[in-house]
């Protein structure tokens, strides 16, 4: 059986988030974006998005996406037991969106999230920020801003638990 062990604890994760906020500001400046709106992917992405949303001082309410019904493997995996409503309480049309997730691996979650975003309106730009960019991409989707790049064998996993404290757990063959 595979075992989980702590890969990173709250304080270190918060340092990564601070780095992400700095890179994001720079990135947005380069793209001429002054008023980004932040959207997090349920659940881990939302925890990181909440902190980035505070640091970017975005006046719009934080958006939350639950992509359960947009997954390309919905009929294999089914409904996530913790499914909750997606909430975007601002007009997304022509806005600059910062989309946040905790771990990017295959890229499928981000694809699903972008599909869902477009059902709320047509954003002007989407900037992707991920706490962990791990190996295993299956789609041509790359984050713009990353907290940490982590090459991992396919049979190892990294998972964020939280929200207080945040912990990164690594699961593998022990």
């Amino acid at each position: 059986m595979s075992e989980s062990h702590i890969f990173m604890q709250h304080e270190a994760i918060m340092d990564l988030v601070d780095d992400m906020a700095r890179s994001l500001r720079q990135r947005l400046r380069e793209r001429g974006i002054e008023r980004p709106a932040v959207v997090g992917i349920h659940t881990g992405g939302a925890w990181i998005a909440e902190r980035l949303h505070r640091q970017l001082e975005s006046p719009d309410p934080l958006g939350l996406l639950d992509i359960s019904f947009y997954r390309d493997d919905f009929t294999r995996i089914g409904v996530n037991p913790q499914v909750r409503p997606s909430r975007i309480d601002f007009d997304l049309e022509d806005r600059d969106i910062v989309l946040v997730d905790d771990v990017i691996q295959s890229g499928r979650t981000i694809r699903a999230a972008m599909n869902e975003l477009f059902d709320f309106g047509r954003p002007s730009t989407i900037t992707l920020a991920c706490l962990i960019e791990r190996s295993g991409r299956q789609l041509p989707i790359q984050p713009d801003v990353v907290g940490l790049r982590l090459p991992l064998p396919d049979d190892e996993h990294i998972r964020l638990t939280g929200p207080e404290p945040l912990t990164l757990l690594r699961t593998g063959r022990g």
Binding site: F69, Y70, R76, P85, S86, F120
Partner: protein, 328 residues
């Protein structure tokens, strides 16, 4: 050997919903999960695109042996909001009237690769029968069978109650009217008791309350005022005129005089009590227009929530159980 009862066949080996035939035998956790998932779908009407791609490319068939435009339409809309394709078979216009058996009809529609049947039938047990004979990988949802069950209606009522009252535990609920002929009432009573309300009352004339009512765990009242006293939720049932063989009632006027809901009678319930009706409503028979259109009435919300609840049940049944790893 006795055939399996509906609640034995409606769950898959892993306890997931495969068919949705009756509330009977379903756990509180599972009912709560249906309501939680419906919560996600209830937010869709506020969006520019009111659908999700979950069941894109799948085929869902409405198989209606009994007319019901409203129920069929909400099932159709639910399927379409999940991006499924929908076939509508109304039996009066289909091959069964030419002598084809029910199972032949079923096999034919299965051959069109339909993966779900939404079944409405005047015979109790019809949906169960179809579920027992359905091919593996085909789910059946009961959209009302005879006097037996109408589980999605009951769940949309539960959803409406939770939206207004939050917790089920402290609630007293009165179900008023023709309980005898009502598949809705049976499903509601099972759902309310499973979700753990304080009290379920059924209120109506002796001729319209089944003799076994008390065995369902309800308090029986024949007087409307005592039945409504201090309740949080009032569910009015439709007088099933088309099911009423023989003279169980003197007249509609007499029924309204004794059991019709008016603002005056509503006053004995809790001040924040909500009034529900599964529709279609007979104004001036089950309730006064001033109640139906009044501030306590949540009847139209029931219709909107019905779509979300049916989406939840459909998406839960349509997931196969192959498992597989989740990748980010």
């Amino acid at each position: 050997m006795a055939s399996k009862t509906p609640h034995d066949i409606q769950l898959g080996p892993d306890g997931q919903l495969r068919h949705f035939l009756t509330i009977e035998g379903l756990s509180r956790d599972l009912l709560t999960r249906i309501l939680d998932i419906a919560e996600s779908f209830a937010a869709l009407p506020g969006r520019p695109v009111k659908k999700v791609p979950a069941l894109r490319g799948r085929i869902i068939t409405n198989l209606f042996f009994e007319n019901s435009t409203r129920t069929r339409t909400t099932f159709e809309l639910a399927a379409k909001r999940l991006s499924a394709d929908v076939l509508n078979f109304n039996v009066s216009t289909s091959a069964t009237s030419k002598g084809e058996t029910l199972l032949d009809t079923l096999r034919n529609i299965e051959a069109m690769h339909s993966e779900m049947f939404v079944v409405r039938h005047s015979q109790s047990g019809a949906a169960h029968f179809i579920a027992r004979h359905a091919a593996p990988g085909v789910s059946v949802i009961n959209a009302g069978d005879g006097r037996h069950a109408h589980p999605t209606q009951a769940m949309l009522d539960m959803f409406t109650i939770r939206k207004h009252k939050g917790d089920f535990t402290p609630l007293r609920v009165a179900i008023v009217g023709d309980v005898l002929h009502s598949r809705v009432a049976r499903s509601q009573i099972l759902a309310l008791n499973t979700l753990g309300v304080t009290e379920v009352r059924v209120v109506g004339p002796r001729t319209l309350i089944p003799t076994e009512a008390r065995a369902l765990g309800v308090h029986v009242h024949h007087d409307l005022e005592s039945g409504l006293r201090d309740v949080d939720v009032i569910i009015m049932l439709r007088l099933q005129k088309e099911r009423m063989a023989g003279a169980l009632l003197p007249s509609e006027e007499e029924y309204f005089r004794l059991y019709g809901l008016t603002n005056e009678r509503l006053a004995v319930a809790k001040p924040d009590a909500i009034v529900m009706h599964p529709g279609p409503m007979n104004r001036g028979v089950e309730m006064d227009s001033e109640v139906a259109d009044g501030p306590r009435s949540v009847i139209l919300q029931q219709v909107s929530y019905g779509i979300a609840v049916r989406m939840a049940v459909m998406s839960m049944c349509m997931q196969t159980h192959a498992g597989g790893g989740e990748t980010a």
